[in-house]
Symmetry: none
Subunit: 184 residues, 2 copies
DNA sequence: CGGCTACGTTCGTCAAACCGAACAACCCGA
DNA sequence: TCGGGTTGTTCGGTTTGACGAACGTAGCCG
């Protein structure tokens, strides 16, 4: 029920992890959160006991819910083309739902909207071990997937692949997509 | 994703609410948490800005998870319009990601693609308690949300609302959407 | 090389969170 | 009408979290 662990170490680790996930420096995060660099440095090192307002502003600056900062952290490519996949709740013709991926407990899933402009492929470094990406192309055309196993997606297409290996995003035209990043 | 509300008032209300629910006096709670009565009194009155350790000890003494003291009591309808929301990883101009909802452990999230044809609103019964729906309109126009609190979405718009109350889906034109159904 | 910028850390100072005690208000029994 | 027991609040004093300015380091460019 309650986390018995001392929260300070968890907060310190969470701050570092989330900051690196956002890809910003300590100074940049301190600036966005309106804090002094020294304060943030001490927090990430496990020294100190932040006030609620301090930690709150960090959560806002990181775009992360407050609870993420205090709670302990608890390869195959599969494509489902638009119109394929198991249809559910189709008893009403005006309505069709396709189950793309069923969730399991103990994993966290972050929901993103991605906007991509045509360019050379963007390389993404491997995320934490065990992470999985779920990718639904909403508009445009996108090539994505692990390096060497990219697939091309059109509107409504879905692909899932491991997130803990290097992978690419490449928009063939202005595109956007919904991404669910699943990790432990 | 983040609560824009000032957390101090929420904490003050949550402390008083949980303490009265536990049926103990302010002095008794202060004693169990190892704090001074004065400290707790100021916290419940909304004055002051507790440290993490202080609030943590109160959560332990009350027997409630930490997050209950900092998060607003109920999940409401929240809309993030296309282009709004915290942008991440925007250092490369060809690439923009918007965090819509950050996941927490211990919940399951099922990922759907919904196709809807224009019709009268489709009523959906309440799901299991604690379920939350995340809805991203991919194309068309969709009105959805809890009954009486529907919002209209265009491509790229995002809305989240409780899934454990009756809610509606209504396509104003042929539409499709990505739905993440989150439940415990 | 020197100059510049950004990174993260350590230091001294100040405001504030926290404490302890004293405080008014209330309820009960003597 | 006294105590003695609550309740929750307000008052000085001390500890400490947050700040700003330094620091050492690393990279990049002229």
């Amino acid at each position: 029920m309650q986390q018995p662990a001392p929260p300070l170490a968890i907060i310190a680790a969470a701050l570092r992890r989330e900051r690196q996930r956002a890809g910003i420096s300590l100074a940049e995060l301190a600036r966005r959160a309106g804090l002094a660099k020294s304060t943030l440095s001490q927090l990430e090192s496990g020294t100190g006991n932040p006030s609620i307002e301090t930690l709150w502003s960090l959560g806002v600056a990181l775009g992360v819910p407050f609870s993420r900062l205090v709670e302990p952290p608890t390869t195959q490519v599969r494509v489902i083309r638009a119109g394929e996949g198991p249809r559910l709740m189709s008893d009403e013709s005006v309505y069709a739902a396709t189950l793309l991926a069923a969730g399991s407990a103990r994993t966290r899933r972050d929901l993103y909207v991605l906007e991509l402009e045509p360019s050379s492929p963007r390389e993404a470094d491997a995320h934490l071990p065990g992470s999985v990406e779920h990718f639904v192309c909403a508009a445009g055309r996108i090539r994505t997937g692990p390096v060497g196993e990219e697939v091309e997606l059109g509107p409504g297409d879905y692909v899932t692949f491991p997130g803990d290996v290097p992978h690419r995003y490449e928009a063939l035209e202005p595109s956007w997509a919904v991404l669910v990043l699943e990790h432990v």
